[in-house]
Each structure stands twice: as C-alpha cells, then as structure tokens.
Amino acid sequence: MKRVPERAPLLRAEEVVKHFPAGLGASVKAVERVNFEIYPGETVGLVGESGCGKSTLGRLITQLLPVTSGNIFFEGVDLTKLSGEKLRQKRRELQMIFQDPYSSLNPRMTVGDIIAEPLENFGLLRGRAKDKRVQELLRIVGLNPYFNNRYPHEFSGGQRQRIGIARAIALRPKLIVADEPISALDVSIQAQIINLMEDLQKEFQLTYLFIAHDLSVVRHISDRVMVMYLGKIVEVADSAEIYRNPRHPYTKALLSSIPIPDPEIQSKRRIVHLSGEIPSPVNPPSGCRFHPRCPIAQVPTPCADLEPPLEEKARGHRAACHFSEKVPVAV
C-alpha cells in the first residue's frame, strides 16, 4: 500500500499524557502514555467510543491543547517545546477539520473571508491574488467559486464541511487531523465528503489522521487503524489486517457491534457482549484497563495487576493484551 515504513515518520508521539483537573485533586486521565507514528502520505484511522480520548489526542497533535507530559515530534521538531511565533509557523503545516460544520464556521463572516483568514494570518496573499486563491479553493472543494460573498447559513451541512476543508487546505498543510468530519452529515452526503478527502489527498499529498467512531468508514478510508480505549491505544495494524484478524478483545467487540446493511449476514452474526459500562477515566481500573469488561480476562493475574504493553504481535500489528492469541478470528 501507500505506506513505506522505512521512511521517517511525519509525526511521532512519545509517551503523550493529558490529564484534566477534575476538582478535589482528582484528574481525568484522558490520554495516558500514548506512542505512535504517522508516515507521510498515509491515512491513519483513530477509533474508539465516546470518552476514550481520541478527540483529545487529535487536539494535542495540532497543539490546540498542551500536553501534560510527553513529546510530539513533527518532522523531527518537538512541538511541545515550541511556543509563540515558532509554534505558529509550524501550525501552518498542521490543520484540523471539525465534526460540526455548523459551529466551526463564524456565522458573521463571509465564506470568502473564512477561507482567506489563514492566508491573511500568515501574510501570504493580498488583494486580487488572495481573492483568486479563495475562488480556486472553493472550486477545488466542489463549490461554486462565486459563492465567496455568501454566509455560512446559506449552505447545507455538506457544503459547510467543504468550506471547512477549503480553510484547512488553504495553507497547503502536510498533516490534517479530521475529527469526526462526516458524522454530523446525512448518509448520501457522507460519501461526497469521503470522496473529496480522498481526491485532495492524492492531489496535494496530504497525510490524514481520521478520527471517527464509525469503523466501516474508517476501514474504507484508512491505511492503518489505531483503536483507543480509556486513554490508551490498545491496537494498531493495517486496515485490512485489523478487520480480518483483531488481536485485542475490545477491537473484536467493536467490530462485532457494527451493523452490516445486509439482513442475511446480520442475522447470523454474533455480538461480543461487553459487560458493564466504560469505567471512569478519573479512576481507571488497575492492570489492563479493559479487564473488568473483557470476555477473556484472567483475574487477578495477570489482567488485573499487570498492564499489558502495546507490543508487536505480527509484522506491523501491535496489540496491548496478555491473551491476544485467544481473540477469536473473523467478524
């Protein structure tokens, strides 16, 4: 596939931690000692359920949130050590697309001004040249170039997401973090946006971190997939591999829960039941964080007292489970 592992990673996260204060000295452990790489030109899918820390991780990478500890290297430069103008300049290459196209565009600005804002912030283009660039960007994302004087409310959800994408690519970034970019859109519009993102990736050699809870969409768009649970990455593998051969019981449970639009297949599938609810990230379980809900856990030893490391189980396939060989195969 597109990935060439020998190349230097575009982004490398090392032992990244994010805790939010939760009062009375407690803290929400949103992201806990996370390590991963993103290679140039690939799409990495980041999946997990609400509260697993995937959006926080996306915001740490784009430096919209400061890390509590750990390092994030972008092209070898540690973003967590940058501040002020140096960080601002680096941010040109790291852009973000948000979930809600309604609240992420300023309703009082014209679409042209919204897209031009990043160009102005960096003093790149002025006057006619800027207008021309804005119109070109509108055309690239499939909107009428002469809509630049309209306001966000005049556009549908799908069109607004196109505007958000135009703004994100205006500075020709290298990495785009897309946080649930299609989950607020109607089904028939979702495919339009996915196709657009794939076209742009080819045209501008973009690298994507695609955050989503919908594993079918992630499977479609990603080269590699990372699964998060309660602040930790529990599995990373090539997209086809993780679906064919999940090595973490949580991944397996997630996959089995996704409804397949085919009544014949759906009636024969078996859901892997997870007991209980997602525990609080203020006080995560000891050992493996998934053990209280895991169908194959052995308690107390090792699952409740030993945290399994995220280690290589097959080539390019890492999982954090003491019993990864026992995870049943096939979805």
Binding site: E49, S50, S156, G158, D186, V187, S188, I189, Q190, A191, Q192, I194, N195, E198, H213, D214, L215, S216, V217, R219, H220, I221, S239, A240, Y243, A253, L254, L255, S256, S257, I258, P259, I260, P261, D262, P263, E264, I265, Q266, S267, I271, H273, L274, E277, V331
Partner: protein, 334 residues
C-alpha cells in the same frame, strides 16, 4: 394474515411556515400487523419522524395533519377527540426518542417515572406499581433493578437511560412501540445491545415495533419489513431481505451503494448521490428524486410515479427501476 393493528392511509402532514407550506409527509400509506417489526428509513427531512409523530397526533404547530387516515384497530386517530388520543398514547401506542436524557425528568426517580406511565392509564396501588417497575427494569436487563429503581436519571449511563425509556414504553403492554432513532446517540457497542434488547422484547411481548432510523445497518438487524422515504413520500417498500438484495428504486440502491461496509474490501471510491434533498415547500415536478437520479429518463421530469409492484411483496415508485436501469447500462457498455 391477521388484520393490521395500524393502517396509515394517504397521510398528509404539512407545516404552515412564513416561507410557505412544507409538505413534510405527502401521501404516505402503509399497514402494520400485530407483532411486526417495520423500519422507516431515510435522511433528515424525509418525513420519517413526522410520520411517527402524526401517528400519535404529536405534531406541533405550525404543523397539522391535513389529510388521510390513521386507523388504529379500525378507529381513525386523525378525527378522534383529544381525550381518546391521550388514552391511546402510552397505553396502546408508546414512543421512545433519540435522546433519552431529555426525555426523562431529571428531578424524579426513574422508578417513579415508570410508575407514573402506568398510573396515567390504570388505577393501581403504589406497591403494585413499584413491583411492576422493578419487573420492567429487569425485563430491559438492568442489573440490580431493585435498587436502581430508586436512582435518578443522571445516575444512569446513556444506554441504561434508553433501557429505562423502553421499560416505560412497555409499562402498559402497548400493541405498538415507535422507536425514533433509539440508538443514534449511543456508542456502537451500546447500540448493538439496545437493538438486541428490542429484538428480544419483540419476540417475548409480541409488541409491534416501528423503528425510525437513517442507518440501513440498524434496519437490517432488527426489522422484517422496511419503508424507504424520500422528500415526504415512500419511494420503496418491502421485506428487508428483498429490499437489501434487490432494491428497485434508484434512491434505495444508491443509499446502499454509498455506505462503506465493514465486510467489504476497500473500494477506491464510494458511490455518492450528488446534490441535496429537495425543498419541500416547492418540491421538484415529476419524480422528486429525478434531479439527483443518475438513471432518470425523460418521463421522470414531468410525470410523478406512484408505488408499483416490482417484486414479491415489493413496491417502488419509479418509472425506470434498477432492474431495467442496470440492464440498460449493461447494453450500453456492450
């Protein structure tokens, strides 16, 4: 086959706005049989939720049912006095909504709210109501129901709140449960559990279920029959297996083609339906889907199709149908 428990005939629900009359539901007809599981699918604004609200006469101003009949066991809900509709609501036909948190009263105990649902329709003692509430929570698989009945909604997780809503819906043993996007606000693993619960309850209690959703996968897992809605109309209906295997309306076909599937190999491009759903104040002439349809013919521009038989127990409102469209494309390529 038994007599239908619900017959919707040529239902029209319109919203009288300052911009004009929105024809949200425009001539919808279908039958629901006892114990049946019926899915209504479509995108935002297609009229699926308004259809559901119309059945319970819950459409809010400026909306109004302007035509048609809704026969519940033979009696028309549309023309019924308000008091009689209130008797049916929650007793014979119950409804659960997408967001369980905003459907529950935050300052009342969950158990109390379930008891309230029962006492609204039958005179029972507090003791009986309480034990029945516990029993209902058990039925929706809430662990430690005896103590949970004393909890407030905020002490429940999202999935448990939806289970509590379902318990409340089932409190009076209704013949129909309408579930409007019941799993949309929930995580996938919880969604799977709620769908399984609804499937089990349908078998245990024989309550008919109308499931309203935008998610084709959810329909495939729960329903026996499905209606596909577009722009206020039913464009296709039939048994779930039939519709998913052999969809005849280009809209149904395109929807199924446009969603990435977990069990399919990675494709290069998804089929996308170009354009946007139409404005229901001034819907397009002819077939309402024709501006977005890649298989349209000349007739589709001016002639509005009605539902026609296209397969065993399957109807579609289309002049072309996928069978002919795909054959035509095959010929063109050959």
């Amino acid at each position: 086959m038994t007599a239908p428990v619900l017959q919707v005939k040529d239902l029209k629900t319109q919203f009288f706005t300052d911009d004009g009359v929105v024809k949200a539901v425009d001539g919808v007809s279908f039958d629901l049989h006892p114990g049946e599981t019926l899915g209504i699918v479509g995108e935002s604004g297609c009229g699926k939720s308004v259809t559901a609200l119309s059945i319970l006469r819950l459409v809010q101003e400026p909306g109004r049912i302007t035509g048609g009949q809704i026969l519940f066991k033979g009696t028309d809900i549309v023309t019924m006095p308000g008091d009689d509709v209130r008797d049916i609501r929650g007793k014979d036909i119950a409804m659960i909504f997408q967001d369980p948190l905003s459907s529950l009263n935050p300052v009342l105990k969950v158990g109390y709210q379930i008891e309230e649902a029962m006492e609204a329709h039958t005179k029972i003692s507090g003791k009986v109501a309480l034990s029945r509430a516990v029993q209902l929570l058990k039925q929706v698989r809430i662990p430690a129901a005896e103590s949970r009945v004393e909890d407030y909604p905020h002490q429940f997780s999202g999935g448990m709140r939806q289970r509590a809503m379902i318990a409340m819906g089932l409190a009076n043993k209704p013949s129909i449960l309408i579930a409007d996007e019941p799993t949309t606000a929930l995580d996938v693993t919880v969604q799977a559990q709620i769908l399984e619960l609804l499937r089990d309850l349908n078998e245990e209690t024989k309550t008919a279920i109308i499931l309203i959703t935008h998610n084709m996968g959810v329909v495939a897992g729960l329903c026996k029959r499905v209606l596909v809605m577009y722009a206020g109309r039913i464009v296709e209906q039939g048994p779930v297996e039939q519709i998913f295997k052999d969809p005849q309306h280009p809209y149904t076909w395109s929807l199924l083609q446009s969603i990435p599937r977990l069990d399919a190999d990675r494709k290069d491009r998804l089929l996308s339906i170009e354009g946007l759903p139409p404005d229901l104040i001034k819907p397009p002439r002819g077939c309402r889907f024709h501006p977005r349809c890649q298989f349209r013919i000349e007739r589709c521009f001016h002639d509005d199709p009605t539902l026609m038989d296209v397969g065993p127990d399957q109807e579609a409102a289309c002049w072309v149908t996928m069978r002919r469209a795909l054959a035509r494309d095959g010929e063109a390529r050959a």
